[in-house]
Each structure stands twice: as C-alpha cells, then as structure tokens.
Amino acid sequence: MNPLAWLEADMARHMLVEIPLIVAAGAYLARFAPARVDAAIARFDAFGLTGWLFAGLVTAFWMIPAALDAAVASGATNAVKFASLAAAGFALRGSLRRSPLALEAFFVGNFTWMAATVGLVYQDAETRLCLAYLTDSQQRAGQGLVIVAVVAFAAWLALRVGRGYILSSDSAGVQSSPGGSERSTAIRPR
C-alpha cells in the first residue's frame, strides 16, 4: 500500500496526520518563496486578514464529511485538497508576520471551537458519516479533532509568548522579527 493510501484508509489518519502534514509542508515551502512573492501577497493581505481567512475556510471545508469522501473517491478532488491545504499553510506563514494579536485570536479561537465541535459531533454520531470510513475510525477522528483544537490554541499561545508579544511590554522581541517593526507601527500605539 502506498503511504498516501495508508494515510487515507483511516479517517483519523486522514484528518489528523495527512491534513496537518500538508498544511505544515505548505508553511515550510513558504520559507523558500522569494521576497518579492511575499511583497506581492502582502498588498492583498494587510494585517494578514486574507491569509487567515483563507486558511480558516480551507481547514473548515475539509472537516465536512462529504468533502473527505469526495477526496477519497476522486483523484481530482484529492489534488484540490492537497493544493488548497498547502496553499493555506503557505499563506499562513506570511500572514503570521503581518497579523495583529486580536485578529489572530479571532481566527485561532474560531478554529478551536469549530474543530472541537466537529470532533464532538463525530464522536456522537450514531451512523457512519463517511461512506469510506468505519464507525470506530470516525470516533478516533472525533477524539483527535478535540485534541487538535486544544493543541492548535496552545501552540499559537506558545508562539506568541515566545515572541514576547503577549507577556513582555517592551517591543524588542517584536522588532527583532522580520516585519515586526511594520506591525508595531501599524497596530501598537506608541
């Protein structure tokens, strides 16, 4: 069995391993994007709004049971899944450098409650929601989604604390990061 088929043979592996890996791969690729690409995107991504919105909608879309079934059933749909999730990761990396705390809190919070709710629904469902997946695999995916929701929120918090954006009152940590000065001028009152 090829690794992709193995990942997609189980709902929990599909949602909790494959999908996060694609997003992470997209974010990793963004490191190698030339500066002018980011500059071009930045024009349409003030405060990281577009990137966060895009990533939030794409991740929400691939939590719909019918979307998972469509991805398993059709190679073309699966290609769209890969492309959209990688693009979400790519966009998120750039947007993270532009977004103010409040905007991030909104989108991360939104993702957290949505993933947790979907996770609870998956655990509660008495029937199979996906034609391609068994009930026990759906249960595990549901439990995992709740964990992912919590981990995503904690990871974001840790990232922000790590950059001294939440706890420290001086803006040194922010200004040392690329784009930090831009953000501090735009968002933080001096």
Partner: protein, 207 residues
C-alpha cells in the same frame, strides 16, 4: 512603513476568498442541505433520477439474467446490496424484503420485483445465493437473489449507484445499506432507509 496601508486590495481579496469558499461548500453540500456523501446521493437521486447501465447477473439458480428489464411485467425493482455472510445490516434488509414480499403476495400488487444483489462475488456463488434465498423464503418469481456476472459489471453498478463497500476489518464489509428503487429502464429514482421499507414499497407500487 508609516503611510496608512490601502485596505481595498485586501478587502477585495478577502471577499473573493469568502465567495469562492461559499461556492465550493455550496457545490459540495448541494446548497448546504447534505453534509454527508450519503445524504447528497439520496438528494441527487430524489431530484433527478440516476441512470444505471444494464447489468448481467448470475442468480441463485445459476442462470444469467440482465437487469433491469429481465421481467416483462416488472414496473419497479426494489434493490438492496448485500453480501450473504453479513451478520447485521443485510439480515435486516433481508427480513424487511421478506415482509414486503409477503405483503405483495397478500395484496396481489403487480409489477413490483425485489433484487438482492451481492457485491461479494468471490464468496457468493449461486449455492450461497440460494442459501440466502431459502433463508428469507424468496419467491424466485418476485425476488431475484444474484451477483453481477463479472467484476467489471459489479464495479460499474456500484459506481453508478453510488454504493461504497469497504472492508470492516473483521472479514466482512461496511456499505450504505438502503433500498434502491429502479425502473425497468434502469433509472434509479429513489433511495429509502431500511426503516422506511413500507414507504419504498408504496412508492414503487405507484410507478
């Protein structure tokens, strides 16, 4: 950068993203009405019948027949997909068809035929199909128990009807268990939950 950043391009891009996501989700869920593939399949069939190719089957007596016009008096087929070793859903489907057959026999309803089609071609030989038919007292004149004659025919039938069969990890299968109403012209016109088998028969009798 101290000049105020123009927000228009961002707002336009965000609007575009929102619109595209809305369109994609609406397309997938048939206008936010079906969030699972099974619900979408049933909605699609209810709104526009789904054509099924003629399928050659081998029945419980080992005879080859071609559905859906194998029986000149048939006006509608109530089709279920099964595998005869199935311990749960197919037993329920079997006993429900058995009840429906009894009510057709009692009321003398004309033109409704039943078909239990196996997707487990390797195991369900005519002998196994006959065992299944005997278990549910299937009257061969009313109720065809069979399996597609080739793997290709089976694949086509499953693909066209939107039935997905997966291994359940215990040597059996999980599949969308439902009652499919098919016309002699091979049009899949309705899909009913197993629990709504009476409605399925009532609907088929009107065709």
């Amino acid at each position: 950068m101290s000049a105020p950043r123009p927000m228009l391009p961002t707002l336009a891009a965000a609007g575009l993203v929102l619109g595209a996501a809305f369109a994609a989700a609406s397309f997938l869920t048939l206008g936010f009405r079906a969030f699972t593939a099974e619900d979408a399949r049933r909605l699609r069939v209810a709104e526009a019948s789904m054509p099924l190719s003629p399928v050659e089957i081998v029945d419980a007596s080992g005879q080859r027949r071609t559905l859906w016009n194998a029986d000149p008096v048939a006006r509608a087929w109530l089709v279920t997909f099964v595998y005869t070793r199935c311990p749960s859903a197919c037993v329920a489907l079997g006993s429900e068809l058995q009840q429906l057959q009894a009510s057709v026999q009692a009321s003398g309803t004309k033109g409704v035929r039943f078909a239990s089609l196996s997707f487990d071609r390797a195991y369900d030989t005519p002998a196994e199909l006959a065992r299944y038919a005997t278990r549910f007292r299937a009257d061969p004149a009313l109720w065809t128990v069979g399996a597609p004659a080739s793997d290709a025919a089976l694949r086509t039938l499953l693909r066209e009807s939107g039935v997905v069969v997966i291994a359940d990890g215990f040597g059996g299968y999980a599949h969308n268990a439902a009652i499919h109403v098919v016309t002699p012209a091979g049009k899949l016109v309705a899909i009913f939950d197993m629990e709504r088998h009476r409605e399925a028969l009532a609907f088929a009798s009107t065709l």
